[in-house]
């Protein structure tokens, strides 16, 4: 079975075949023999202690102190280069302490946009590039969710 996984570094294509009590996994042109025993994932005879959990559609994998997050990758999506997103989103749930800009303001790279507080810590979100503020969707005192859009910018302003 062919499986495509995507993490922040790109797409990984794998081919997984069950073969008796083992799996044959092809990845990056290399073929590996894989077995599962208790918490051990045995790849070509080398054991790794692995723990996994769901995170929505994604899978989290803990291994040797690292945590990896893989999403299923459908062929239709294409990897894009990182560009500054026009939406300013909350990196975590919390509370808006101060909104530092208004609609129409022009901001330079690094200029403060909003001050928020979460887990007793005050954090300032700044502009990633020069931009014009197009929308402001929150006000001081608002409770916000992680990922919520706080304002919309137009870059290159």
């Amino acid at each position: 079975m062919k499986i495509s996984l995507r993490d922040q570094h790109g797409v990984i294509e794998l081919d997984v075949r069950a073969d008796g009590d083992r799996y044959v996994v092809e990845i990056d042109g290399h073929t590996h023999e894989v077995r599962l025993h208790g918490e051990a994932l045995v790849v070509d005879g080398h054991q790794h202690t692995v723990a996994t959990a769901r995170d929505g559609q994604a899978r989290l994998v803990a291994i040797g102190g690292e945590v990896h997050r893989f999403e299923p990758h459908s062929g239709a999506e294409h990897t894009m280069e990182h560009v500054a997103a026009p939406e300013v989103t909350a990196p975590m749930p919390g509370k808006i302490l101060q909104v530092l800009v208004q609609v129409g303001d022009k901001v330079a790279v690094g200029d403060g946009l909003v001050v928020l507080e979460a887990m007793k810590m005050e954090t300032r979100l700044s502009a990633e590039a020069a931009a014009t503020v197009r929308e402001v969707r929150v006000a001081a005192g608002d409770m916000i969710n992680g990922g919520q859009v706080l304002m919309v910018l137009e870059y290159g302003g």
Partner: protein, 498 residues
Amino acid sequence: MIKRVLVANRGEIAIRILRGCREMGLSTVAVYSEADAEAPHRAAADQAVCIGPPPSSESYLNITKLIGAAKHTGADAIHPGYGFLAENAAFAQAVIDAGLIFIGPTPAAIESMGDKTNARRMAVAAGVPVVPADEAPPTEPAALTAAAGKVGYPLLIKAAAGGGGKGMRIVRQAVHLIEAFAAAGREALSAFGDGRVFLERYVERPRHVEVQILADHHGNVVHLGERECSIQRRHQKIIEETPSPAVSPAIRRAMTDAALAIARAVNYRNAGTVEFLLAPDDSFYFLEVNTRLQVEHPITELVTGIDLVQAQLRIAQGEPLWLRQEDIVARGHAIECRICAEDPAQQFFPSPGTITRLREPRGPGVRVDSGVAEGFTVPIFYDPMLAKLAVWGETREAARRRMITALRDYVILGCTTAIPFLIDVLEHTAFSEGATQTHFIAEHFPKWENPQRHRHIAAIAAAIEAQRAKQPSAAGTSGPHQVATPWQTLGHWRVGEA
């Protein structure tokens, strides 16, 4: 004699204190906010009382509710833990006024050390060096700018009432002074209910070294050696160790003498910590006194063998110190890592969530003080610390390697933590050489990305899960020993098919 203790705190420290009480045969009372009804600390006591809505100001900082809970449950003593009301003299006084024992110093000592400007004055009077500072800067911008110039840049703005990095800002140039001053004041007000801040010369590349003290009600004071807490992010400690690799016997003698002098000057009682900056030239400066148990107390317990929580309880009920200074001998080396819900790849932003998998390291010399459990949703209202991992080793190098092994074994899924970052710090040559100072992270890890050593193995694990989810009768764990493993807990997984 204390019979029933109410612990006015949450998370790992509440659990640690409750366990200490249970071992001493005391009955225990936990308190919890509405956000913590399912929190592990709540279940760790004989009784538990809900003290209000999620925001700390309405629950863990609500003195009336806490005293009421103690009265209602018949507790005769209150342990404040750290943070929240631990350094609030009014709380300590309210506890005493209610006829209960406050497990900590006197309100007078908390007040006198809690006011950083007063603490500095007392240190100077006790002959202990301090850094140049303005204890009561004016708030009017022009006057503030002038006052800051007199202290000298770089300077630090700090909350008069608090500690732990909250309400703290470094200012390197006069142009940033005004905004930083306002932000620090706001944070201080929110965290401590007191918005006053002060200015202090910033010592470059210092180490943060602190001395643990224990004092009884009969005038006896001892120290338990130092801790170095230089590895910090967001001005908050993340790795602590004892002994400090930079503290020679001569420095230790001078620094512990200074700590004892300050403790005696304020008639200190119970456990406390005297914090110093240690400069590269081995000079040191008094910073402040934390009039409470410290987060990092386990490493002192590991090297001295003295249980600080149980010592606090015994002192609080009037027992004369059973330890002479010469009985207190540090053995080996201990290191602590704070495990927080935070993302080291995103400037240590808090990262609350539900812990879907938790496996804590164990083994000889490994101690985990945890406040969470699998399935627990970390509330957004409180400090992001989930647990503390402390290790002991015969040498610093043995402790360092044990810590790396333990961090590699530590599994927390559902909340991002700094575990992979901590491993990188511990493996850095500068750390293994003991070249630690408070700018360690800024200097050695100006930019950090999650390591990808195991990316392909992790992908194989995820892919096999996907395959098993589609074809549950396929290969893998089988035979008479088939049991629930992580591999078998998964349901549907959407994948592209060949």
